[in-house]
């Protein structure tokens, strides 16, 4: 005889009000009379603010201040007849980003997506501005090339080492394109003329790319068994961390020329890059040191027992574990580095915020502070948000915290 089961009660649908949107509203916004009151008051305030903001943004705001000065915001006083070199350099980077993104992990994909979206956005603004359809078209082409290479996974057809070399090569190529070389068709463009988003972007990029390896070396130096190396690294880190960035930039702008012989002049942009890099490296070093300290001594003993040299041990055992645990802290640091690039006004450089102030000094845009600062804030938000998204992808890829 087969055992018979008792007839099961039929599944009833849950009563309306515990699932779905109504359920969500009830649980989260109207769970008690007090909660309902708070919801209604906050909702009213939010609606009012949104309405006022919208009314201002769409009827009162003179966005003309942005479009009329869009060239300044984008590239400063970089001469228009040489601007094609910027778009070409961006084209190179966009192409490589597209090739890499098609076959790479989430971090590069995120960065590439934002690079494409950012350029598309700028293309739109350029179209509305005095820059006109040519510049807009160039930026749009970059974005499209990036997307196409990304989606068709064109990176498949390029050997990985070739792509790596192309990336490395893109740095000097971009530098030559931007700065130019005397006596060639690429006329030199003085860095005094660089400005706006171009300058902000370059300062942050160079600062991040250089301060990271330098900071890692300092962190290793601080834990070195050689007393001289340890002492110098510690002294450097402590000295820099005891000084505000403004002071470092002052040093770079006023003191450095005094120490150097008269005929040696270091370019102002290079000085700013140097100052930001040297400053940021000390903080990177302290972050990385935290990661290094978290490595159990057994890891080092096992590496030594296997006969790995100190270099190999750091390269293959210590740093991969230490660095992945300090990604969140380092990205936080790099986001603040990006925002700190605004301090280069001390050197007389006009990055995007400086351009904003310069634009506001024009008599016809008197009183357009809201518009200018809202635009600059939006640009910084996009850049910082990109970095933080990329860092989440990087954490996922490296499995932080789920070891």
């Amino acid at each position: 005889m087969t055992p018979s089961t008792a007839p099961a009660a039929p599944d009833l649908p849950p009563p309306i009000g515990i699932v779905g949107p109504i359920g969500w509203l009830r649980q989260n916004l109207f769970s008690s009379p007090a909660s309902s009151l708070v919801t209604l008051v906050m909702g009213a305030v939010l609606a009012l603010v949104a309405f006022e903001l919208g009314r201002w943004a769409f009827s009162e705001a003179r966005w003309g201040v942005v479009t009329a000065n869009f060239r300044l915001f984008l590239i400063g006083q970089y001469p228009m007849e040489a601007a094609w070199r910027l778009w070409l350099s961006l084209f190179v980077v966009s192409t490589l980003a597209g090739l890499s993104a098609g076959t790479a992990g989430g971090t590069i994909r995120t960065l590439a997506t934002w690079l494409a979206a950012g350029q598309a956005l700028l293309a739109g603004l350029a179209f509305l501005s005095e820059l006109g359809p040519v510049v807009s078209g160039a930026l749009l082409v970059n974005a499209v090339v990036l997307w196409v290479a990304f989606f068709l996974k064109l990176g498949r057809f390029v050997p990985r080492p070739a792509l790596t070399w192309a990336w490395l090569l893109s740095i000097p190529v971009s530098a030559v394109l931007l700065a130019g070389v005397g006596g060639t068709p690429l006329e030199p463009v003085s860095t005094n003329l660089w400005g706006g988003l171009l300058l902000t972007f370059l300062l942050a990029l160079v600062g991040i790319l250089l301060s990271f390896p330098f900071g890692v070396l300092l962190a290793l130096g601080r834990r070195s068994s050689l007393p001289a190396v340890r002492l110098l690294s510690t002294a450097y880190i402590e000295l820099i961390r005891a000084v505000p960035l403004v002071t470092v930039l002052f040093m770079a702008s006023i003191m450095l020329p005094l120490f150097l012989p008269g005929e040696i002049r270091i370019d102002r942009v290079l000085r700013a890059m140097g100052g930001i890099t040297l400053f940021s490296a000390a903080y990177v070093a302290e972050n990385v040191r935290g990661g290094l300290q978290a490595i159990p001594s057994g890891q080092i003993e096992a590496a030594q027992a296997l006969g790995l040299s100190t270099y190999r041990m750091n390269r293959h055992i210590v740093l991969p574990q230490a660095l992945r645990s300090v990604i969140p802290a380092n990205v936080g640091l790099f986001i603040s580095l990006l925002k700190d690039t605004t301090l280069v006004y001390i050197l007389g450089l006009l990055e995007i915020l400086g351009i904003g102030r310069a634009v506001l000094a024009q008599s016809q845009w008197f009183g357009a502070q809201m518009e200018v600062y809202a635009f600059v804030a939006a640009v910084f938000f996009v850049l910082c948000y990109t970095m933080s998204q990329a860092s989440y992808r990087l954490e996922e890829a490296l499995g932080v915290g789920q070891r």
Binding site: P296, G298, A302, Q304, A305, S309, Q321
Partner: protein, 255 residues
């Protein structure tokens, strides 16, 4: 080296010679004059109370700890401050730790192939082939592509043994390899060690697994307070211990 010449009549040569080894941790005198000679192919089990200096001593053999007096020769190379000597000695010695010390960011396979590829410069394919053979030998070929965190303690320790063997060492040091394991996993590690001992590997094991010692040790060495108090074949240590401290210690761990 005179000791090798002295014993030239015997079948096996001395591969580890330690003479009057002293070691201090700050003021603490932890090794107080250790003399120990190990022959090629010999399996030596070191036992003794915790704090008796047994782990410290085997860690001086591959220079994870520095000795401050006396001399240690491994395969004729003296362990001094000369970095090249240290590197040469380490390349002849494999070590297995109490807490496994696998590299958590690398798979079992990558743990095993890292040193052959980076230190011995062996081609990746050859290294992976050797690694598969070794993982087979320790009985976990199917775990090759897992990360240490996905393996049981016994499996991790067997990967650690394979990792040490991948450098094709002449000597294996085991520092309490089963002390951190759950009881049901101890035997799987001991089986691998027994197989290794029978294959003729020179081994020094710090362990309290007396069954293992009785089965495969050629010699047992009892450490007490930084000194070797007694040594001899297992039959003597278990059957007719000479020293009062040995008797006392054995009675504590065998009951």
């Amino acid at each position: 080296m005179s000791s090798q010449a002295d014993r030239s009549g015997e079948a096996a040569a001395d591969i580890i010679v330690a003479r009057d080894v002293h070691k201090w941790f700050g003021q603490l005198h932890v090794l107080r004059g250790i003399d120990l000679t190990v022959k090629v192919g010999e399996v030596v089990v070191i036992f003794g109370a915790s704090g008796s200096g047994k782990s410290t001593f085997i860690r001086t053999i591959n220079r994870l700890e520095e000795h401050q007096r006396g001399e240690i020769f491994v395969d004729g190379i003296e362990l001094s401050n000369d970095v090249r000597n240290i590197a040469a000695v380490r390349s002849e010695i494999g070590m297995v730790f109490q807490s496994f010390n696998l590299f958590p960011h690398l798979t079992a396979m990558e743990n095993v192939t890292l040193a052959p590829i980076r230190v011995r410069k062996s081609p990746r394919e050859r290294a992976e082939q050797l690694a598969m053979e070794l993982l087979n030998r320790v009985g976990i070929p199917e775990q090759a592509h897992k990360y240490p965190a996905q393996l049981s303690g016994g499996q991790q320790q067997r990967v650690a043994i394979a990792r040490a063997l991948a450098m094709q060492p002449k000597i294996m040091l085991f520092d309490e390899p089963t002390s951190a394991l759950d009881p049901e996993m101890i035997s799987e590690v001991l089986d691998v060690m027994k197989e290794l001992a029978l294959s003729g590997m020179t081994m020094i094991c710090v362990t309290h697994e007396m069954g293992f010692a009785r089965a495969v040790a050629d010699r047992m060495v009892f450490f007490d307070q930084g000194l070797i108090v007694e040594q001899g074949p297992p039959s003597q240590i278990f059957g007719n211990p000479q020293h009062e401290r040995t008797v006392q210690f054995l009675s504590q761990i065998l009951h």
